[in-house]
């Protein structure tokens, strides 16, 4: 009996998949983190390229709506896939943008006994990236670098950030799109002259923001697809598990134990 049944229940590497998806469950919620950031950058870039006040205002409003939508997706993910609380509470938006943000700056203990400041420092990588972007925009406005240098810098920073995220998420094969998108951005930075010949808009910071935003938006959408697939594939095995575990009251080991005690 049991060897065959056990074989059917658990494929090699299954426990590893479970462990990795659980650990990175929050990070894989692409519609909550990467996609909104990408849309935000893309809209900013588009408004800069448009050079039209009304279009810029419209882009700003859509960007704000996008941010609100991103905050609402937490509930969507909780209802669709459930909730996981990690050890280090990854809250990529960190302090400022989360509704409960200001508390993070206090030194009080969090609900799970960790200092709030520590939680902020651990998790707010997206906020840091966002602040970096504001700093970058300010430096650009002060004329500290030329537009072409700005595009190169943007592509290098966001391309490297994609690569860093890829190595951190442990899902090397399933997230093949991270190195591809990162290579695209780094190539645009390295061969910027040639890229401008092909796409003249890349000669302006707005064009760079559109490229970077597009890459991050695609990464977010594909992250969401990866999560869907990881949990749907488990659902497809549900039939197998259900058949194998119909007799929950008597598992193979309990069966064996019962035989021993007889």
């Amino acid at each position: 009996m049991s060897a065959r049944r056990l074989e059917g229940c658990m494929k090699p590497g299954e426990l590893e998949r479970i462990r990795i998806v659980t650990r990175h469950f929050v990070d894989l919620q692409g519609l909550r983190w990467n996609a909104p950031l990408g849309v935000l950058l893309l809209l900013n870039g588009a408004s800069m390229l448009a050079r039209n006040v009304f279009l810029s205002i419209a882009c700003g409003l859509v960007a704000f709506a996008n941010l609100q939508l991103a905050l609402a997706t937490k509930r969507f993910y909780r209802r669709r896939f459930g909730e996981v609380e990690g050890f280090d509470t990854p809250e990529p938006w960190g302090s400022g943008l989360a509704p409960h943000g200001p508390r993070y700056f206090g030194g009080v203990e969090g609900p799970r006994g960790r200092p709030m400041v520590r939680r902020h420092l651990d998790g707010g990588w997206l906020t840091e990236l966002f602040l970096l972007l504001i700093g970058f925009a300010a430096a650009g406005m002060l004329g500290l670098f030329r537009p072409t240098q700005g595009v190169e810098l943007l592509c290098t920073v966001f391309g490297a950030a994609l690569l860093w995220r890829w190595t951190r998420l442990e899902m090397i094969g399933a997230q093949w799109y991270y190195p591809v998108l990162s290579a695209l951005l780094l190539a645009a930075a390295a061969f910027h002259g040639a890229a401008v010949v092909l796409v003249p808009a890349l000669g302006r910071v707005g064009g760079g923001l559109v490229l970077v935003g597009g890459a991050w938006m695609v990464a977010g959408l594909l992250d969401h697809r990866t999560l869907e697939r990881a949990l749907r594939s488990a659902g497809m095995r549900r039939g197998l598990f259900a058949r194998a575990r119909e007799d929950v009251e008597e598992t193979p080991w309990e069966e064996m134990q019962r035989g021993e005690t007889r």
Binding site: L15, E83, E85, A242, P252, Q257
Partner: protein, 117 residues
């Protein structure tokens, strides 16, 4: 004489060494706590089976169950207890030792010498 790897196999913690429970414990070991819906999705179990296994794990003291209200609905959260985490660590150490012993094991070590030869 020391037990063969196959005899050692029978001494593994049976509360853990069962594929479905191992899957639940593996998920819980990778986080602080997870809710019922997530565990159902990640393991592919039906509600009844997952409930039954969680109840058994809770009864064995390996898992702690907590219920709370979110959006006027009950949410069931499970977390690995301290005892559960220690038991799982011990289990993995034993499985690793067993794997090494099984790789070294030769049938001749276990079979008695033929008397006639």
């Amino acid at each position: 004489m020391s037990a063969t790897p196959f005899e050692q196999l029978a001494h593994l913690d049976r509360r853990i060494h069962e594929p479905t429970r191992l899957a639940i414990l593996a998920a819980l070991s990778a986080c602080e706590r997870a809710d019922f819906l997530f565990l159902q999705g990640i393991t592919g179990l039906t509600k009844g089976n997952l409930s039954s296994h969680l109840a058994k794990l809770e009864e064995a003291g390996l898992v702690e169950i907590e219920k709370r209200f979110v959006d006027k609905k009950t949410q069931t959260l499970a977390r690995l207890s301290r005892e559960g985490r220690e038991a799982l660590d011990t289990y993995w150490r034993e499985v690793e030792a067993l794997r090494k012993d099984a790789a070294r094991w030769r049938p001749a070590q276990a079979l008695p010498e033929p008397s006639g030869s």
